[in-house]
Every structure is written in structure tokens, then in C-alpha cells.
């Protein structure tokens, strides 16, 4: 597929491109994106034309005739507008049109579709597409962003929980959303409240690229005007969208000239105006008479080519999200958005878990130190290799440190004597390495004061003169310093390790606990709402029943009256006195049975 050419584009080639390339090619690149926008802005069509095959079916279209998708579209979450579990939530996922139920608020659902793409170079691209049917369709659309926000947060939480776990799941799947395409309704008037609020709220968790859906409703000048309006609004309301020109100063002006130009061009072009289509048309080129097939929209007044850069930014957007900026978007999600979220989250979680507040609040720092120290540990070990075949064991270190702690000068002397013997043996071998190893300690020396107390600095003073005399004499001090440092570090890490362990044990559970609590709360709310709804319905039914009964009564009365009138009419015709009573009784009993019947019917009515 031509869109994937950009894997060799400059932005990708930054970090060891070939290795990454091969690795990626084998495993496939995973990329998750989400489309959000009001109904009828062309989200589904956009996805289908982006992937060049029918992946999603339209709203009122039977879900048949799908091209091969990896796994079916599945619904991740949904909430209904009244937060009552009524059957209308199924509207969004069922693909049929029912004019009777369209007046019900559909709520919002999140659906996920996995698609695999393979391009010409056997590059595999595993796409995860999240659609949001129902967005903007409710009377109150607040719940839409809440739902999406929750989903995005949850994905971050999952990764966070996984990261902090001691035993990690090797099959863990990262479900974070890398980019969100926000479809702006083509009003011609700039952004609306819902656009602004949605983008503002979600921008904490995802890169947002705003696009103008159905851009073929604008003429050239209108589109220009609309774009400037949107840009003004974005600036005015501080909507944080994905900035293509944010990291330009990191690039070298001469080397990446093209890249810079490209980014500037993209930044200038934003928001992208999209025309998309699933239909293909054959077009005869007027000049050379050749026919070619294009995707487009056929109107009575002309054919719109969706790949024509003159009026559609579709090809550019395609190459941006599936090619040139794919890695950027992923990196930014991980390095910036997720990192910010993590910091915030952990400080909150750790502060929240009662007891060891203060200790754990430094969690982030401590972990940072931890990695640094690990690094140093390794380097010290490496450097020790240069001087000494026997890597110092813990006990050894303790001895040494104890000795050096009690009698500095003596210990140093001892050390030097030992090592000088060793090093003299080693010397022939390590002479070549010495130049490097001499460079190694110097950063250590700088580092050491921060970790070790005055002892190390003392020893420093003690040994510096020696270095001037003899190279072999110089070797001991760093060696002496290093165990010193590591010992100190080990001492200081001790409690931190424990803390770390505690955190890694607790954090995932705390997070999960919180999520469960949240969900419980939500369920409770839903229950309450449905109870309310049920109560109101019951009340209505009761009222109806009462009405029906009243009607019954009036009817019965009328019946009676009627009968009496009849009797009154009939009685004179019949013989007067004796026969009068029994028919009345009969009539009454009849009336009664009838009323019972009707009552029964009324009840069944109400039940129905």
C-alpha cells in the first residue's frame, strides 16, 4: 500500500532504523486510533476509505458483506443516556433502522475493530480502531466525554498496573489509544461548545488531531474561512491539539530541512479537511485518453476525487497517521501523555493509601534513582573487572567498608597493597584498557559526594597525589571508592527496595480497587435511576388502572340507568304487578357478572 512508504521517511530513521525496521516487520506495528465526532460527519466512511476495504458497516446497514477483519467488531462499553438498562442501548450496535425508537436517546458505545494490514515490503500493521457511535446524539452529551475519558484513563491504568507489577505478563497487550481523530461538524461557523469541551477534556489522555468531516460541503473560499475560524477558536479557548511543529527545534536545520518543511506545512494545513468515499469510479484522462480508477463521490454536477490534494487533505492525513507520524504519535503517547498521567496517578494513589504517605510519595524519585543506581552498579562492576578478576562479593564489600570506615588511612593502604598486587598481574592485560578505565572513574568521582559521606572525599584527598606519581597506584582509589559507594547505596536502597516492592504490590491493586469502586458507584447510580424509572412507570400504570376503573363504574351506572329505563318502558306493556321483581334481579345479576368480566379485562389491559 502506497501509504506506508513513509516507514523509511526521515522521522522514522532517527533511532537505528534498520534494527527497528526488521523487528517491526516481524512482529508488526501496533497502532490504535479512535474516531470521535457527531453522527453523519463521515467517520465510518473515512475508516473504510483509509483502509481501502470495508471494515466497518454503516449505521443502518446490515452487518453482512464484511471484508476480512481480524476479529469481529466488539463493543467495549456503553452507557445509555438515562443510565437505565433499557433495550435502547442496543440501537447503537444493532444495524437496523427502526423509526419508532429513533427518538430515544442512544447513549454512547465504544466499539473496537482490529484490522491487519500488510504493505508491499511485508510490513505488518496491526490497527485497532475504536469507534464511538452515539457521540453527540443525545440531548445531554456530557456523558459522552465522561465515557470516553473513562475508557482512555482505564487503558492508562492497565499499563500502569502492568508496569508496577513484579511478575509481568508477557502477553500483555497495550491498548492505549495513540491518536484521536476528532471530526468537526462542517458548520462553517467555527467550533461549538461540544467540540471545545470534548477536545479539552480528552487531550490529557490522547493526541488529538482535529479534522473537518465532509469537507465537500464547502467551496474553496468557505473552507479557507472555516479553517481560520477553527484556528482562532482553538487559540482562543486553548484547545490542546496535536502540534506538528512542536519539536522542530530538536532537528538540525540543515540535515532535516525537508522534515522541518513538512512539519511546518502540516501545522499550517491543520485542521485537515477530509472527503472520503467507498465508491470507485473510472475516469478517463482527457489528455492521454487513459482510464484510471479513483475513489470519489459522484454528484449530478461533478465527480469529487478524494485523493485530489487541491481540495481534500485525505491523502495527507492518511500518510501522516499511517506513515510519517505513526511512531511520533506512539512515542508522544508513551513519553509524554502517559508519563504525566502516571506521575499524577501515582502521587495520588500513594498519598491515598494510608500509613506510609510520606515515604511513598517519593516513589517516583526513588524509582528514578533506582534505575540510575542499577546503571551505576553495572558500571562499577564493569570497571572492577578491569582492575580485578574477582568481583567483590557482598561480604567482601562489607569488610572493606568496615575497615575503611574505622581506619581510613590504614584501610586504604591495605587496599592498595592488595590491588597493586592484583593489578600488577593484570597490568599486562589491562594496560590497554586503562585509558578507558581512567576515564570511567572520573564521572564517578563527581558522583560520589552525592552518595557517600565525607569518608569518600577524604579518601579522595588522600589518593589524588598518588595519581601523579604512578598509574598503577592510581588504580586503587576508584576501586576503593566504588565499594564504598555501592555499600552506601545498598544501605540507603535497603528501605527503598522494600518500598518499591510494596508499591509494586499495592499499586496495581489500589488501581483496580479504585476502578471497581468507580464501577460499583456507577452501577448503583444506574440502579437508582432504573428504580426511579420503574416507580414512575408503576405510578403511571396505577393511574391508568384507576382511570379504567372509574370508566368501568360510569359505564356500569349507565348500564343500570339504561336497564331501568328499559324496564320503565317495558313494565307498562307487561302485566303490572307480580312479574316485575324477578327480571330486575336477573338483570342485576347479569350486570354484575358483566362488570366482573369487564373488570377482569381492564386489569389485563393494565397489565399489558
Amino acid at each position: 500500500m502506497d501509504s506506508l512508504y513513509a516507514y523509511e521517511s526521515p522521522s522514522m530513521s532517527q533511532n537505528s532504523p534498520m534494527i527497528n525496521y526488521r523487528k517491526d516487520a516481524k512482529k508488526g506495528v501496533k497502532f490504535t486510533f479512535m474516531v470521535v465526532g457527531e453522527l453523519g460527519t463521515g467517520k465510518t466512511t473515512f475508516i473504510n476509505s483509509l483502509l481501502n476495504k470495508k471494515v466497518l458497516s454503516h449505521r443502518y446497514e446490515a452487518a453482512s458483506g464484511h471484508a476480512k477483519t481480524v476479529g469481529e467488531t466488539k463493543t467495549l462499553t456503553f452507557t445509555s443516556a438515562k443510565s437505565v438498562a433499557l433495550p435502547n442501548t442496543a440501537i447503537l450496535t444493532k444495524h437496523e433502522f427502526n423509526p419508532r425508537t429513533v427518538n430515544e436517546e442512544p447513549g454512547i458505545a465504544l466499539t473496537e475493530t482490529k484490522v491487519e494490514m500488510i504493505d508491499d515490503d511485508n510490513m505488518k500493521l496491526l490497527l485497532n480502531i475504536i469507534d464511538t457511535p452515539g457521540f453527540g446524539e443525545n440531548l445531554n452529551n456530557e456523558l459522552c466525554f465522561v465515557e470516553i475519558e473513562n475508557y482512555l484513563k482505564q487503558q492508562f491504568d492497565l499499563v500502569l498496573a502492568e508496569e508496577t507489577r513484579i511478575k509481568r505478563n508477557p502477553r500483555f497487550v497495550d491498548t492505549r489509544v495513540h491518536v484521536l481523530l476528532y471530526f468537526i461538524t462542517p458548520t462553517g461557523h467555527g467550533l461549538r461548545e461540544i467540540d471545545i469541551q470534548c477536545m479539552k477534556r480528552l487531550s490529557k489522555y490522547v493526541n488529538i488531531i482535529p479534522v473537518i468531516g465532509k469537507a465537500d460541503s464547502f467551496t474553496e473560499s468557505e473552507l479557507k474561512h472555516f479553517k481560520t475560524q477553527i484556528k482562532i477558536d482553538i487559540k482562543k479557548f486553548n484547545v490542546p491539539i496535536f502540534q506538528f511543529d512542536n519539536y522542530l527545534n530538536e532537528y538540525d536545520e540543515d540535515e532535516d530541512h525537508e522534515l522541518i518543511q513538512e512539519c511546518k506545512f502540516l501545522a499550517n494545513l491543520q485542521p485537515f479537511a477530509i472527503i472520503s468515499s467507498e465508491h470507485e469510479f473510472e475516469v478517463r484522462d482527457s489528455r492521454n485518453g487513459q482510464t484510471r480508477i479513483i475513489k470519489g463521490r459522484q454528484y449530478p454536477w461533478g465527480l469529487v476525487d478524494i485523493n485530489d490534494p487541491k481540495y481534500s487533505d485525505f491523502p495527507i492525513l492518511k500518510s501522516v497517521i499511517l506513515g510519517s507520524h505513526l511512531q511520533d504519535l506512539k512515542d508522544l503517547t508513551h513519553d509524554f501523555l502517559y508519563e504525566t498521567y502516571r506521575t499524577e496517578r501515582l502521587t495520588k494513589v500513594t498519598a491515598g493509601s494510608n500509613g506510609k504517605n510520606a515515604a511513598e510519595e517519593e516513589y517516583d524519585d526513588s524509582e528514578f534513582h533506582d534505575t540510575v543506581e542499577h546503571h551505576q552498579d553495572n558500571s562499577t562492576k564493569n570497571s572492577n573487572h578491569y582492575y580485578n578478576d574477582t568481583v567483590p562479593s557482598m561480604s567482601n564489600l562489607a569488610q572493606i567498608t568496615n575497615a575503611s570506615g574505622s581506619e581510613l588511612t590504614e584501610a586504604n593502604g591495605d587496599d592498595s597493597s592488595i590491588t597493586s598486587a592484583d593489578s600488577s598481574v593484570k597490568k599486562s592485560k589491562s594496560m590497554l584498557l586503562e585509558d578507558e578505565s581512567n576515564e570511567m572513574p572520573s564521572p564517578k568521582l563527581k558522583d560520589s559526594p552525592s552518595f557517600s559521606s565525607s569518608t569518600s572525599t577524604l579518601s579522595l584527598e588522600h589518593h589524588v597525589p598518588h595519581t601523579n606519581f604512578n598509574k598503577s597506584e592510581y588504580l586503587p582509589p576508584p576501586r576503593n571508592l566504588n565499594p564504598n559507594n555501592t555499600a552506601f547505596k545498598r544501605l540507603s536502597i535497603g528501605p527503598q527496595r522494600n518500598q518499591l516492592r510494596q508499591i509494586s504490590e499495592t499499586v496495581p491493586y489500589v488501581i483496580r480497587h479504585e476502578r471497581i469502586l468507580e464501577r460499583q458507584q456507577k452501577l448503583e447510580e444506574m440502579e437508582m435511576a432504573s428504580a426511579k424509572e420503574l416507580a414512575s412507570r408503576a405510578a403511571l400504570l396505577e393511574q391508568k388502572a384507576a382511570e379504567l376503573k372509574a370508566k368501568e363504574k360510569s359505564l356500569m351506572k349507565r348500564l343500570e340507568l339504561e336497564r331501568q329505563r328499559k324496564l320503565a318502558v317495558e313494565s307498562p306493556t307487561k302485566s303490572e304487578s307480580t312479574v316485575e321483581d324477578p327480571p330486575v334481579a336477573e338483570d342485576q345479576s347479569l350486570a354484575e357478572t358483566e362488570s366482573v368480566n369487564t373488570l377482569g379485562r381492564a386489569e389485563t389491559d393494565t397489565e399489558a
Partner: protein, 396 residues
């Protein structure tokens, strides 16, 4: 052959009067913003009646993105062949722009009811020659060309409008739908309108006039009208200008039946059915309103649905016999705002009080401290004085 009496001349007299007096026509356009309402008005009457909302004004006006629904009235007098029409055009900017659109239809519905009511009151006045009549004769509801179906918001407001005015739904910006899509969209909308019991305006079928009946039938068939609006004119052939929209891929002509239903709608609104619209407003919608208002006789079919809704919305049960529809004096939106403001106010007051209390305690503490100091001083003074006395005694 006797000379005709001249009764047949009455229509001509009528014609003279009417052409002297002119006519009044009130048209309302409703729908979400950005659907081309303003453009449509200007296209319909072929003159810039309504100015566009200025972008800079928009930015100055709205400090936040939240907007309220407004009612905007434009009055104009159109003259064609010496016949004058006084036009009132009512726009509803801001509708459907917010995140929460509950009750955003209230201002619009209230406006329509208010016009009916004020007209009724004027009728009851002793002198009623100079009546102000802003009753809406036709309401165009603009539907966003989503290609799917109607939104709940559309249905809610259309249901309410359809019991009060002649409602004509139109598909705005129809040039974003290809003919196949448009047909599917139209049929879905028709289904919804039927299933949801929305009474849209249908031109009367005059059976004695086959030509006009045919015309009406055509109009009914093409409802809801798909509309394109434009104020620009382009030259298609030398000397032949048409209104249209110039796209890079072609020119859409407004007055081309192949492209959109603009001509049909114009014919419905102005050429053939304007009188019917005015009369049916007076005879049907106003009468309904009047009988409901005056008689309190609620067996009217149009009103029953409304009451049920109210009962549902409020959750409590309004007894039907009592149900003389309580007119909503307040927009629930404002009520919410008021509540929020009240809450804010009380909170502020509380905070202030707290602060004052804090101050007070501080001041009291300070006073106590000072008093203590004073006492200490006094005791010191006393002791000093005693010392002085002692010393003096010693001196002596």
C-alpha cells in the same frame, strides 16, 4: 340578454383591496447552527435580508463556548410588481449548539405560544384595528445532512413545533449527499416522521383542479425538501447567470430540479400555498390554541400528548381533570442557573462568615493577650512600687 348583476365582480374588488393592502407573512427558520439558514433566507427572497453573524462579534459576544438560544426577528417589505409583502423572518441562533441541549427548544416554543397569546388578547380588546400579528405562518426546520436519520433533539423539537405551526422539514446543505444517499435519507426521515406522529404541513389536494392537485402531489412526494442555498451567481452560458455554488468539481445550481428541491419549496412557500399557510395558521393552529386557552376543554387530540409528556417529565402524576396545561413560565434552564447561582452565593456568604468569625476569634485572642500583658505589667508595677516603698522604708 340581461346585463349581469355584477356579483361576479366581487373577486376583482377583493383583488384590488388585497393588492392595495399587501400581505403579511411570517416565516420561522429553526435548526442547528451552520446549516445555512441565513443563506437560505437570502436565497429565497433574492436579496440580503439577513446579515451574517459576524465572526469577530461572535468572539466578543461569547466569552465562553456556551450559548443560549435567542430569538432574532428581521422585518422587511418586499415589493414585486407593485405588490407589497411585509415579511417577518424569525431566526433562532444558538439552537443545538451546546453540550446539554435539554430544553433548548423552550425559547422557540414559548415564542410561538406568546405570539398566539398576544394576538388573542389583542382580539379581545375593545379597539382591535391595529393588531400586531407575529404568529408564525410557516416554520422551516433544517435537518443536518447526516445521511443517517433524525436525532432525538430533532424529533423532540419537531414534535412540539408540529402541534403549533405549519412545520416544513427541509434537508439543509443537500449538496453533500449524492442522489442515492439523499433518497435513502429522505425515506428514513419520512418513516421517522410517520412513526413518531409528527404532523408536517402538507399542501391541500384540490381534487377539482387536476393541475394543482398534481403539483401538490409532487410537492408531497418530494418532502422533506433537499435544499441548497447560495447568494453567488455564476455565468453558465454567455449572458445567462444562475445562482449556485462553485466547487472545484462542478457547479451546483440552486434552481435546478436535478440538483435540489429549492424551486419546489419556493413554490410551496410563496407562489402557490402562501395563502393556505396563512389561513391554516389562523384557522387551525390559532383556533386550537384559543380553544385550549379559553375553554380549558382538553379533549383536543393535539394537546393530550403534550400533557402526557409533562406528566412524564415531572415524574409526578397530574390529574387529567385538573390538567389545564400549566404554561411554563420559567425556562428550566434558567432555573438551573438560578440554583447554581444561589448555591454559589450561599457558599460565598458562608466562606465570608467563616472568615469574619476567624477574625473575631483572632481579635478576641489578641485582646486577651493584651489584657494579660496589661495585668502582668500592672503586677510588675505593683511589685516595683512595693520595692520602691521598701527601699524608701529602708532609706528611712
Amino acid at each position: 340578454m340581461p346585463e349581469p348583476v355584477g356579483i361576479a365582480n366581487l373577486p376583482n374588488q377583493r383583488y384590488k383591496i388585497v393588492s392595495k393592502q399587501g400581505a403579511t407573512f411570517t416565516l420561522m427558520v429553526a435548526g442547528e447552527s451552520g446549516l445555512g439558514k441565513t443563506t437560505f433566507i437570502n436565497t429565497l427572497f433574492q436579496s440580503s435580508l439577513k446579515a451574517y453573524q459576524d465572526a469577530s462579534e461572535r468572539h466578543n459576544k461569547f466569552t465562553s463556548a456556551h450559548q443560549t438560544v435567542e430569538i432574532d426577528i428581521v422585518r422587511a417589505i418586499l415589493e414585486e410588481k407593485n405588490f407589497k409583502v411585509r415579511l417577518n423572518i424569525i431566526d433562532t441562533p444558538g439552537f443545538g449548539n451546546n453540550v446539554n441541549n435539554h430544553d433548548s427548544w423552550t425559547p422557540i416554543i414559548d415564542f410561538i405560544d406568546d405570539q398566539h397569546e398576544s394576538y388573542m388578547k389583542q382580539e379581545q380588546q375593545p379597539s382591535r384595528l391595529n393588531k400586531k400579528d407575529l404568529r408564525v405562518h410557516a416554520c422551516l426546520y433544517f435537518i443536518r445532512p447526516t445521511g443517517h436519520s433524525l436525532k432525538p433533539l430533532d424529533i423532540e423539537i419537531m414534535k412540539r413545533l408540529s402541534t403549533r405551526v405549519n412545520l416544513i422539514p427541509i434537508i439543509a446543505k443537500a449538496d453533500t449527499l449524492s442522489p442515492i444517499e439523499l433518497e435513502a435519507f429522505k425515506s428514513r426521515i419520512r418513516d421517522v416522521i410517520e412513526a413518531q406522529d409528527i404532523n408536517i404541513y402538507t399542501p391541500p389536494l384540490e381534487l377539482d383542479d387536476p393541475a394543482s392537485a398534481e403539483h401538490s402531489k409532487q410537492l408531497i412526494e418530494s418532502m422533506p425538501f433537499a435544499i441548497i442555498g447560495s447568494e453567488e451567481e455564476y455565468e453558465v452560458a454567455p449572458g445567462n447567470f444562475v445562482r449556485g455554488r462553485k466547487y472545484p468539481w462542478g457547479l451546483v445550481e440552486v434552481e435546478n430540479d436535478q440538483h435540489c428541491d429549492f424551486k419546489k419549496l419556493r413554490s410551496l412557500l410563496l407562489r402557490t400555498n402562501m395563502l393556505d399557510l396563512v389561513l391554516s395558521t389562523n384557522e387551525f393552529h390559532f383556533e386550537t390554541f384559543r380553544s385550549v386557552k379559553l375553554g380549558g376543554n382538553d379533549d383536543d387530540a393535539g394537546n393530550e400528548g403534550e400533557k402526557d409528556e409533562d406528566a412524564n417529565e415531572n415524574g409526578d402524576v397530574v390529574k387529567k381533570s385538573l390538567a389545564k396545561k400549566p404554561r411554563r413560565l420559567h425556562n428550566p434552564k434558567f432555573k438551573e442557573e438560578e440554583d447554581a447561582l444561589k448555591k454559589f452565593f450561599t457558599e460565598q456568604v458562608k466562606a465570608e462568615e467563616q472568615r469574619f468569625r476567624q477574625w473575631e476569634t483572632n481579635i478576641v485572642n489578641e485582646r486577651n493577650r493584651l489584657n494579660q500583658d496589661l495585668e502582668e505589667m500592672q503586677t510588675k508595677l505593683k511589685s516595683l512600687e512595693e520595692q520602691v516603698k521598701k527601699l524608701q522604708l529602708l532609706k528611712r
